[in-house]
Every structure is written in structure tokens, then in C-alpha cells.
């Protein structure tokens, strides 16, 4: 009796807001609310399945999943890079999904070999330059930016950002550590100024003439140009004769202890459908993962490019090695 009372009291005190409605998907999202909520709303409208979500950085979200274990309310983990998805799979937080739709819609190099996660949009990390200072003919590859001719002309974002960690990880996958380290050291010695905390500041510095060339994600370029169309900046697609432009994905996987796996898979499938892909890419000027669909016209205007076809899972596998390499090369 008194135990029962105590239990009831505890429950009242805790307020069981956590109870899981029968037909709803719960998403842990590292993608910012403004870039994801419109899609959840559209999904709910189309399917009648409500979506509950919280946002945070990948690290805490994964620790959260780990701590909650079987009690987790989460069905889907959504991130903005492949490295963290690889780590989530590595830690056993995700489960393989068998879905003909996903198999068909997501290219092989943009998903987990075991189908534990799927890339949903492509984020291309490419070269940006000041059109007053350079011509496209001056540029060729990422590796070329290590050439001493760029001394004092290169701007880079901090190595703490996962996008750069993925870029270097993929270079390690292609060329091995020794050569990659030489390239990164070359970049560092070419830097015009301290590395930047974000891509936007970096592009502004290029536009202002502090340096001439840098490496950024394309959607930051799109956002900046939308606000300041006069900036004399242009994108360049490097490595077109060789490996292709480095791409990463924003993607998702189904959580191992998902309570509502069916709806979760349905959400993932919807993301790769025409409407899902359109919204996913257009909300943030990214590229659709599903090759059947074209990007937004502004984005298409930057030209098409050959992308690097190494599986993006490598970015996760080699991320720690990349971080260590950049530390050694004193890339801050």
C-alpha cells in the first residue's frame, strides 16, 4: 500500500510527459530547428504521423541515447555530417533498416554499408575565391592549395569544425597519412591569417582582400550571396580531373531501441521522396542526395560537378586520425 502510494507520488511529481504516444516519431536532431521543423510539419500533414523532436549537438545527443538505453523515447537520430552517424553506428546506437525505397533513393557512397544510416542531402565542401584577384584557371585541386605559390593567400576555417575533419579524413582515405600531412602542413604555412571560426567570416575576409582563396561549404556561400550579392566571390569545383569534390551528408538512422520503428522508417523514406528531397535541399541550399532530383535553381546556377565517390562512412572511421594529423601539423 505505502509502496504503491510512494510510486504514485513519484509519478505525479515526475509528470509522465515521457509516455510515448502510439503513433508518433521522436527525433533527436543535430540539424537546427529552422532547417528541419518545416519538413516535420509537411510529413505530418501528408501522413498524419506527428513528430516530436529536440535539438542539440551530436555529442550530447549520442550520450543521451547511450544513457537512456532501452528506455529512450527516440526513434530517429538526425545529424549534419556522416562522421557522427558512423560513430553512432559504431557505438551500437542505431539499427539496420531494410527498405527498398531507401536502397533505391540513396546512392551507395552516401549511406552506411550495413544500412544503419542514410545520407539525405549532400553538402559539398569546395573552393571559393575572390574574382578580382584570381581566375578559375589559377585553381585546380585542394592539394594545390598547399603549393608555396599560395603563401599568404589562403584562408581556412578552424580544424575543430567537423567539415574540415571529414575533408582531411577523406584525403587520408585516398592518399594515406604521410602525404595528407604534407598537404595540411602546406595549407598551414600558406595561411594569410589565423583560421576562422566559421565559413561566412572566412568568405568575408576573402572578399575584403585579406586573402584570395579558401575552402567552404557551398550553402554558406549561397546564404552570404543572398544577403550581399555584390561580393566578388565565386565557387570553384576542384579535383574534377581526379577524385572529385569532397561531399558530406546530412543524414539519419533509426535508433536501436526505437519504439516506433515503422513510422521512423517511413519518415526516412519520405525524406528521400521528391517533396522531402526538395525541402531538405532547398531549406538550406544543399544538394539532394537522391540523384533523381535537381537542386534549387540558384544552387544549380553554380554549375554541376563531379563528386568524390568514396563512401562518406570513411569520414567517421578516419576522423580521429584526421584530428590528430591536424594537431601535428599545427592546424588550429
Amino acid at each position: 500500500m505505502s509502496k504503491r502510494f510512494l510510486a504514485a507520488l513519484l509519478l505525479t511529481f515526475a509528470g509522465i510527459s515521457a509516455s510515448h504516444a502510439a503513433d508518433e516519431v521522436v527525433v533527436y536532431s543535430a540539424r537546427a530547428e529552422q532547417l528541419i521543423k518545416p519538413m516535420f510539419d509537411a510529413f505530418t500533414k501528408e501522413t498524419g504521423i506527428p513528430v516530436k523532436f529536440i535539438t542539440d549537438k551530436e555529442g550530447p545527443l549520442m550520450e543521451r541515447l547511450k544513457a537512456e538505453g532501452p528506455n529512450t523515447p527516440a526513434d530517429v537520430l538526425l545529424t549534419v555530417d556522416a562522421g557522427n552517424l558512423w560513430q553512432a553506428a559504431n557505438e551500437g546506437l542505431l539499427k539496420p533498416v531494410q527498405s527498398g525505397v531507401l536502397d533505391k533513393n540513396v546512392p551507395v557512397h552516401l549511406k552506411d554499408p550495413d544500412n544503419q544510416w542514410f545520407g539525405l542531402s549532400i553538402r559539398a565542401r569546395t573552393i571559393v575565391y575572390n574574382t578580382k584577384a584570381l581566375k578559375p584557371a589559377d585553381l585546380s585541386t585542394y592539394e594545390d592549395l598547399a603549393n608555396p605559390k599560395w603563401k599568404g593567400k589562403l584562408c581556412l576555417r578552424t580544424s575543430k569544425k567537423v567539415y574540415n575533419q571529414s575533408l582531411v579524413a577523406m584525403m587520408i582515405a585516398e592518399k594515406g597519412e604521410a602525404e595528407t600531412e604534407k598537404i595540411v602542413r602546406g595549407w598551414v604555412s600558406n595561411l594569410a591569417t589565423d583560421v576562422f571560426p566559421d565559413d561566412t567570416k572566412l568568405m568575408e575576409a576573402i572578399a575584403a582582400g585579406q586573402c584570395q582563396v579558401g575552402i567552404v561549404n557551398t550553402y554558406y556561400y549561397g546564404r552570404l550571396l543572398e544577403k550581399k550579392p555584390d561580393l566578388t566571390l565565386a565557387l570553384f569545383w576542384p579535383n574534377q580531373q581526379t577524385t572529385g569534390v569532397h561531399v558530406n551528408v546530412s543524414g539519419a538512422g533509426v535508433v536501436k531501441h526505437a519504439k516506433n520503428e515503422k513510422a521512423a522508417v517511413r519518415l526516412l523514406e519520405w525524406f528521400t521522396s521528391e517533396q522531402g528531397q526538395k525541402m531538405f535541399a532547398d531549406l538550406n541550399m544543399e544538394y539532394p542526395a537522391n540523384p533523381a532530383f535537381k537542386p534549387d535553381t540558384v544552387v544549380a546556377g553554380w554549375g554541376s560537378f563531379k563528386q568524390n565517390l568514396i563512401n562518406v562512412a570513411k569520414a567517421g572511421e578516419l576522423q580521429a586520425a584526421a584530428v590528430r594529423l591536424m594537431d601535428r601539423a599545427r592546424y588550429k
Binding site: A7, L10, Q34, T55, G59, P60, A67, D194, K201, A205
Partner: protein
């Protein structure tokens, strides 16, 4: 005091409770030492650690001296002198507290870096701005953090100087010391517990800061912790680094405590009414100008920039949900502030009753949460609560029909626990400083009048400590409003706050859009700060 006696003393038990609350997540973090990660450490030793220890040392020394210089000088000016605008300035100088340091950092860099309007103008006029000091530098980050954090020192120093009165200074003058030398030999040492309290908060905040140093890309212990976690996927190594941080801070706290030894800071005899010394001529205008300059750089300038940005995105981003964000922010901050202040009062009281031994150490432990980087602490809290939840569930499931899910995790209880754990130091310092001001004889007097401990706390101590308690509550209030990692990790679905909005925008590098929630946050934070200063003025 023996352990068994401690367990019988309700105040020590309260201290024990709060210490446990803080200790559990800290121990979770420290338990990482059970999983050695040798190769990460070897890498850190070889390539990272030396640099970042120096960086961290410079930052701590720089921000420590910067906040001391600003906080103590401004506190001294506004408490002891009278000059044009003093009344308004004395509370306005607290306002920078409402602006999160990382927001200030971003604004500062936005304005003064190479691509910013200031250097842009200089290039227009002079053709070059290469002579302009580098902004994203050690000096820059120290300047920004000092300007953002000085109010902690200022607030406590001002209170100390104001209650000290002129008497001690006059005594020094009558012994042949100039006012200047008297300030250093008497006024400053006598204000030491207060100033040290404020400085401790600043240093803990500096050590745990991630947002500001990230904007400057200044590598510290904390950035290494996150890089190890997020970049190398080694939370264990990250937690081990964080544990070292805790140990360093704890050592500092104990050292400060020991060095005070038998000294007291309560002035014997009655306090004189506090007549301010009126400054005249250039001294008066100099004082006004100095205070105004600090206020302009640390508050007015960033606020104007934020308002301009917010104005630009208002039509696009503002909607009715903002009232919800504001409501959540104020509600959480309010409850957390009250809980923390009560906890701080119990702790300070326990320490007063048992100045020796275990209790004193427990109290120190209970304030250590502030020194941990927020996200690391958030994980510690979350892991502990999730464990508790799992076991509660096992206990409860046979008794009541309940589906697997979450109890504490799904409620705001965990958020509040998190805030109390993180901000106990912020609440404890002002309350403890106020406690030191009460002569010990007061307790004896009350006891001889036959009142119980609780009655004494309520009727004698609480009214005297009111200033300290209100200060504590409001500092915590403002800090909770700005808090990000615990809020992000522990909030139940739908409990988004203004800080969460700022995170959503800044995580995508959209600083201009983050200005809208930031401005709302600053404006909401002004209310309690103005209340605090009003209250403070009455106390003088």
C-alpha cells in the same frame, strides 16, 4: 567534527545533500579514469597539452587581472566617491551581465576584425589597416572576456566597499597613509573575501567557457576537451581532461580558504553612515568618463549591434512562439534561482555552524559544478539521472502499470537539478560573503533569547542576509537564462528557451538571426538586474 555527529546535525545534512547532488555528476565525469585511453593522452602530451596549458594560463591570468582591474576600480569609485552620473552608473555597470559572453565576442569580432566596419572604414580612409591590432588574439579574447565578466567582481567589490565605510580609510590616513596607499593596505585587503568570491566565479567561468574562446578560435583546456570528445570521439579522454580542471579549481578554492586562516573581515564597532567623498573638477569628470566608457564598450555597443541585426530579421523570424520561449526562460530561471538561493543559504549556514572539518569541505565540493565545461557536466547529470530512472522504473513497474519510458528525464526536475548543480557557486559566494559580515556574537545573542535554530535563521539571519540572498538569486537567474548545454541536453520536448533559439541559429553560423533571441534575452535579463541594483542601493 566527527561523521556521526555530522549526521545528527540537520544543517550538515543539508550540506551533505547538496554536496552529493553536485558530487554525483562530477564523479560520473571522473569515473572516466576507469577507462584509460592511453593513445589519446600520448597524442595530447606530444602535440597539444603544452600549448593549451600556456594558453589557458594566460587566459586565466589575463581575465583575472582584467576583471579585477575593472571590477575593483569601478566598485571603489561608485561605492566611495560621488561624481556626475554616479547613481545611474552604479547600477548600469551591472548590465553587461545580461549579455552572454559569446554573443559579446561575436559582436566584437564582427565590428573590429579585418572584415568589420571599423577596419573597413580605416581602409577607406588610409588605404590600409594592417597596423590595426589583431583582434582574434590572446589580447582580444582577454579583453572581451574581462569586459563581459567584470560585473561579478564589480558587484561584490562594490558591496564590500560600501559596507566597509570610510572609517578604515580614515584610520589609515591618520597613520600617515595617503588615500591611495590606504586603499591598497586597508580597503582592498578588507574587501578580500568579497573580491575573491567574485574573482572565483570569473575564473571558474573562464576555465569552463567554450562559446567565447570558440568565436576567437583560442585553444584552451576546454576547447581541447570538446575536440577530444567531438573530434576524436573519446568522451573518456575528454572527461579525464575535465576532471583535471575540477581538481585544479578545487585546489584553488582550498588554498584561498586556508590563506585566510584566522583573519576576520567584520569590522568591529558600528558602521558610520556612508558619506561619499565628492570628487571635483577633472577627477569627477574623469571618473564619469571612465565608467561611461566601460559601459559603452561592454553594453551599449553590443546592444546596438544586436538590435540592428534583430531589426533586420524581425519580420522573418518573430512569431508567437517567442512568448513561449520567454515564458519557459523566465519560469526555469525563476525556479532555479529560488532553489539555488535556498541551497546556498543552507550551505553557508552549515559552514558557519561547523567552521571546521567535514562540513566546510562538503560545502566547497557543492560549489565545484561551475568549474566544469557545461556540456561535460550535462552528460554527468544526465547519466546519473538516467541511471536513477532505470532503477526507479524497475522498482515501480511491478507496482503500477507504466510503460517503459522516462520519469525524471522527461520532466523539468532534471533541468532544475542541473541548474542547481551548475550554479551553486554563483549563489553561494554572495550569501557566504554576507554571512561573514555578521558578527558571530549575533548567534550567541539569539541563542540566549531561547529561539530555535530555524527561527534564528528565519528571523535573525535571513533578514540580515537579505541583500546577499537577493544578489545570489538574481545572479543565478541571469546565468540560467544564458545557460545552454544543460538546457539543451535535459529539456523535455517542447521546453525550448531563448538560449535554445540562440543555439539553433549560431550552430548554423547565423549570428544575425541569433540576435533576435539574444536581444530578447538581454531585455528580459535587464529586469532582474535593475531590481538587484535598486535593492543594492537601498542597502547602502
Amino acid at each position: 567534527m566527527g561523521v556521526s555527529r555530522m549526521l545528527r546535525d540537520p544543517w550538515s545534512l543539508a550540506a551533505l545533500f547538496f554536496a552529493t547532488l553536485v558530487l554525483v555528476p562530477v564523479l560520473v565525469v571522473m569515473s572516466s579514469f576507469l577507462h584509460p585511453v592511453q593513445e589519446v593522452w600520448q597524442h595530447l602530451f606530444e602535440h597539444v597539452l603544452v600549448d593549451l596549458l600556456w594558453n589557458t594560463l594566460w587566459l586565466v591570468l589575463g581575465v583575472g587581472s582584467g576583471t579585477l582591474l575593472l571590477g575593483v576600480s569601478l566598485g571603489w569609485l561608485t561605492a566611495v566617491y560621488d561624481f556626475p552620473g554616479r547613481r545611474i552608473l552604479s547600477w548600469a555597470l551591472l548590465l553587461p551581465m545580461a549579455i552572454p559572453a559569446y554573443v559579446f565576442a561575436f559582436v566584437f569580432i564582427g565590428l573590429f576584425d579585418f572584415t568589420g566596419p571599423v577596419q573597413g572604414c580605416l581602409r577607406e580612409v588610409f588605404g590600409s589597416s594592417t597596423w590595426f591590432p589583431r583582434i582574434r588574439s590572446t589580447g582580444g579574447v582577454i579583453l572581451v572576456m574581462s569586459l563581459a565578466l567584470y560585473p561579478y567582481v564589480y558587484l561584490l567589490a562594490r558591496n564590500a566597499f560600501a559596507t566597509q565605510g570610510k572609517r578604515a580609510l580614515e584610520a589609515a590616513q591618520s597613520l600617515g597613509h595617503s588615500r591611495f596607499s590606504g586603499f591598497f593596505s586597508v580597503a582592498l585587503p578588507m574587501a578580500r573575501p568579497w573580491i575573491a568570491g567574485g574573482l572565483m566565479l570569473v575564473l571558474m567561468e573562464t576555465l569552463a567557457d567554450f562559446g567565447t574562446v570558440s568565436v576567437f578560435n583560442y585553444d584552451t583546456f576546454t576547447t581541447a576537451i570538446y575536440k577530444t570528445w567531438f573530434g576524436m570521439f573519446s568522451l573518456d579522454a575528454a572527461s579525464q581532461l575535465a576532471s583535471l580542471l575540477v581538481i585544479i579549481v578545487f585546489a584553488l578554492l582550498v588554498l584561498e580558504q586556508l590563506s585566510r586562516s584566522r583573519m576576520r573581515y567584520t569590522q568591529a564597532g558600528r558602521h558610520q553612515e556612508n558619506n561619499r567623498i565628492a570628487l571635483a573638477g577633472w577627477a569627477a569628470w574623469g571618473a564619469s568618463l571612465y565608467a561611461l566608457l566601460v559601459l559603452a564598450i561592454a553594453f551599449v555597443m553590443p546592444l546596438i549591434q544586436l538590435v540592428l541585426w534583430a531589426y533586420g530579421v524581425f519580420g522573418q523570424d518573430f512569431d508567437s512562439r517567442y512568448f513561449g520561449f520567454l515564458h519557459h526562460t523566465l519560469l526555469l530561471a525563476g525556479i532555479a534561482a529560488v532553489l539555488t538561493a535556498v541551497g546556498a543559504l543552507l550551505l553557508a549556514y552549515a559552514a558557519r555552524r561547523n567552521p571546521q572539518g567535514m562540513t566546510r569541505h562538503l560545502v566547497r565540493v557543492a560549489t565545484i559544478g561551475y568549474a566544469l565545461p557545461g556540456t561535460v557536466l550535462a552528460v554527468g547529470i544526465f547519466v546519473a539521472v538516467a541511471w536513477l530512472d532505470r532503477n526507479l522504473l524497475q522498482l515501480l513497474q511491478p507496482l503500477v502499470a507504466i510503460e517503459a519510458g522516462m520519469l525524471l528525464q522527461g520532466s523539468v526536475v532534471i533541468m532544475l537539478v542541473g541548474y542547481v548543480v551548475r550554479f551553486m557557486a554563483v549563489g553561494y559566494n554572495p550569501v557566504d560573503s554576507a554571512m561573514q559580515r555578521m558578527p558571530p556574537s549575533l548567534d550567541d545573542v539569539s541563542r540566549t533569547l531561547g529561539v530555535s535554530q530555524l527561527t534564528m535563521l528565519r528571523r535573525v539571519h535571513a533578514p540580515i542576509l537579505r541583500g546577499g540572498i537577493v544578489t545570489a538569486a538574481i545572479l543565478v537567474f541571469v546565468d540560467v537564462m544564458k545557460e545552454m548545454p544543460i538546457t539543451l541536453m535535459t529539456r523535455p520536448f517542447g521546453w525550448d528557451t531563448l538560449a535554445v533559439r540562440i543555439f539553433e541559429m549560431t550552430s548554423e553560423g547565423e549570428w544575425e538571426r541569433a540576435a533576435l533571441p539574444a536581444v530578447t534575452l538581454v531585455l528580459a535579463g535587464l529586469v532582474p538586474i535593475i531590481f538587484l541594483s535598486r535593492h543594492g542601493n537601498q542597502n547602502e
